[in-house]
């Protein structure tokens, strides 16, 4: 080993400074907690929470533990993020492609959308949808049905619930269809490599994914019925819908604003990705006789995706993190339920804030690891 003073000193100073700062903080924290009579520990997680949450995916009421309250918040956060990511991706890809359209009007329309939504703070958009736009919706008793099954009211969106019989059979049929498609794809590739024949994989896949579940209805005894929400009068002026699934206005406002906002960034990523593929690639592919579809599928997309995916991953992460703004409109996400209500009740600031931060940290790190893996896979395939 070759120890040099020049190498050691700066590192030592930095580390000492970091350790000193942390030590100072911990020391103070200990003294402060002793003075206030708070003891440090995560034991409170198993205590009874005794507060209620408006909207939860799992069964929860005040008699459950703080840990379950944490789970409720986490699931709500994930729900918003997943819906937001799906909508934002679809919208973003459409707008990004529209930005490249030769059609002047479509192009400008997409540009207008991007410039408009990108330059307004997300929080303001959430407030706008929640406090201004969705408040203008009709009361439950005045709501008009959309396609006679959806009801959009000031109290939220009511959609029919699916009621399944023998759901597992249906589920397995979908799984079987997916597995079959994967096998057919592998087989088709092998055939193409060995014999040069092409099998219409796409048509077969579509057929399979429809036919197998359909068979499960005909043979497997799967039944599907809808439970349509019905207006019910509670008192003379108070109405609610019963039955079906109700999506609270907070959820709608949040997903709407998150996806509209993030879609602008995804659109820019998509545009940059497609523009980033060299024009010569397209022309070369066309000149060796590939059809326009094949050019897109085999030449443009694989190269464009390599440019698109890393920044888009960042946008997904941003969306997940931005979903914490839910606290501003009282959507019971992780921040509101746990870092808000639970913190108020227990007063365990350090524990709760650290758990919350750690949760977001692990969420974003896991998404970025997943996306890095996918990215790597694509990058290798290209060689």
């Amino acid at each position: 080993m070759n120890f040099k003073l020049k190498d050691i000193v700066p590192q030592l100073i930095t580390v000492t400074a970091v350790v000193l700062v942390f030590g100072f903080f911990t020391y103070n924290a200990q003294i402060n907690m002793e003075n206030r009579g708070i003891d440090f520990g995560y034991g409170f997680l198993s205590q009874e929470s005794s507060f209620d949450v408006q909207f939860s995916l799992i069964e929860y009421d005040g008699s459950h533990s703080y840990f379950r309250a944490y789970l409720v918040g986490l699931l709500n956060t994930i729900l918003v993020s997943v819906i937001g990511i799906i909508i934002a991706t679809i919208l973003g890809v459409i707008v990004g492609v529209a930005r490249l359209s030769p059609n002047y009007l479509i192009n400008k329309f997409a540009a207008f959308y991007v410039e408009f939504f990108r330059n307004i703070p997300l929080l303001l958009q959430i407030f706008f949808w929640y406090f201004a736009a969705l408040r203008a919706l009709p009361l439950p008793q005045d709501a008009e049905a959309i396609f006679s099954v959806f009801f959009l009211t000031i109290k939220g969106l009511y959609i029919p619930a699916f009621i399944w019989q023998n759901f597992s059979v249906f589920f397995y049929s979908v799984v079987a269809a997916i597995i079959a498609i994967i096998f057919i794809r592998i087989h088709a590739r092998r055939v193409q490599e060995n014999q040069g024949k092409q099998i219409p994989v796409f048509l077969i896949s579509i057929g399979l994914i429809f036919i197998l579940p359909l068979l499960s209805f005909l043979i497997g005894g799967v039944r599907l019925s809808f439970e349509i929400p019905v207006l019910k009068q509670l008192a003379t002026t108070s109405f609610v819908y019963e039955g079906g699934v109700s999506l609270p206005p907070e959820l709608i406002a949040l997903t709407l604003s998150l996806s509209l906002y993030t879609a602008t960034f995804i659109a820019e990523c998509v545009r940059a990705g497609i523009e980033g593929v060299n024009k010569g690639q397209k022309e070369a592919a066309a000149s060796i006789g590939l059809t326009p579809n094949q050019v897109l599928k085999l030449v443009i997309m694989p190269q464009a995706l390599r440019i698109i995916i890393p920044p888009t991953t960042n946008q997904y992460l941003n969306l997940t993190k931005n979903s914490s703004l839910a606290a501003a409109i009282a959507y019971p996400d992780l921040v509101l339920v746990f870092a808000g209500t639970a913190l108020m009740q227990t007063g365990k600031a350090i524990e709760i804030v650290s758990i919350t931060m750690f949760t977001y940290l692990s969420l974003s790190i896991s998404i970025s690891i997943l996306m890095n893996w996918y990215n790597k896979r694509i990058a290798i395939q290209e060689k």
Binding site: P102, L123, R135, K321, Y360
Partner: protein
Amino acid sequence: MNKINFLKPEKSNLFTFLYLGSFLFFISVIDVFLNSFFRINLTSFLPNLISFLLPLIIGFIGLYFIRIEFSGIKKLDLINKHINTNNFNAILSLLIIFIIIKSIPPILSWFVVDASFAGDSKDVCSGTGACWTYIKVWMRRFMYGMYPNAEQWRINLSFIALALLGSVGYFATDKFKKYLTLYYVVIYPFIAFLFIFFFISGGPVFFDFSYGIIAAILSIIVGFFIPSKFKFYYFLIVPFALYILLKYFLFFEEYIELGKLEGLNWVETGAWGGLSLTFIISFFCLIFCFPIGMAFALGRRSGFPLIRYISIGFIEFWRGVPLITVLFMSAVMFPMFLPADFFIDKLVRCIIAISLFEAAYVAEVIRGGLQALPRGQYEAAKSLGMGYWKMHIFVILPQALKLVIPGIANTFLALVKDTPLIFVVGLLEIVGMLNLAKTNPEWLGFAMEGYVFAAIIFWIICYAMSKYSYNLEQKYKTDR
């Protein structure tokens, strides 16, 4: 006259198709126009659905007829090329034209025609349009928060002075151009700080100022005797330590009271708010996050493993958590980490939190620029005998920063857009004030106007920033 095949428009019957097509197209546009502006439905005798879709169908047929390649008429070719290349595009173009026509009357009537501007009470707002009176009445609150009305000239004066001082760069002659960087990086932030701390808050600036000067002079004198290897670390730590020592340990708080200027009332930061607070926070975070971010970007690419790991940890931590939890931490967790009698103002805590948060993003952007530079630049600088700092300051950073102007601008934009989040700690900038005003019992039901107003302001700020960054990018673009 040739035989006309209506299914296949040709050049031989150009004018027939042109007249017919444009006639149909204009009929469809006029139908939608009358429908939306004057509520006249020309086709009301038809069933609902057909009457709804008719303009689309007619317009589509019209566009189909005028889609003739190489017609020789310039304008027609231009239209065909831009909005009418194929059936799909024609329908989309029509839809967009119709949506624009349809959306103009309601927007116009809400914004201008039916809106109320006059008066200063809620009674004038009975129409269906927007109530801009509400904005007018609350304007001071939206701009200055709870800052006392009588003192608001201080904010105005400071901002005007800072804007004037900030525009010095445009008027500088060549002789002074080389000092501009120094001016903008060191002197201008310092002046801004003085203005905001001294003038807007009415704080005890004199003593603070003098402590700072004493600390600086002392540390510079001692600095001459420090070996140059450690000078950087010395100047990083000692002046601040001295300042804190002087301010909080050697001197007493009573003297600070003496430092207040006669006649300026102290306005606590809790009363600050509105758009001016947005500017103050954005400004300070912008100033602070840049050097911190740069330091961590260099740290992440440093050859010292310990420094590198600390930098990576810092960057990944802040990038992994949402800003709202960081602000939560600054509000509820941070006071626990400080000595019991040590109080840091809410606004200052906020600025620290946002600066650290954005610094991580700035660090990643700058790292991208550092990585994009060819190795030759590093090697050339080293071969000239430059040390680490000289190499980075004179060769690497100027080039790397040039490369990352768009990224940095995006981060700064994100910073400005993140300022409304400070509602978490109870500071109310413009969006927070809107939420407060909206719940005022005298002015219920005007949420829409408020949000539209704030949205317009933010949009203008952010759009101007992004355009400016684009100009900068073009200005500093160097071909390699």
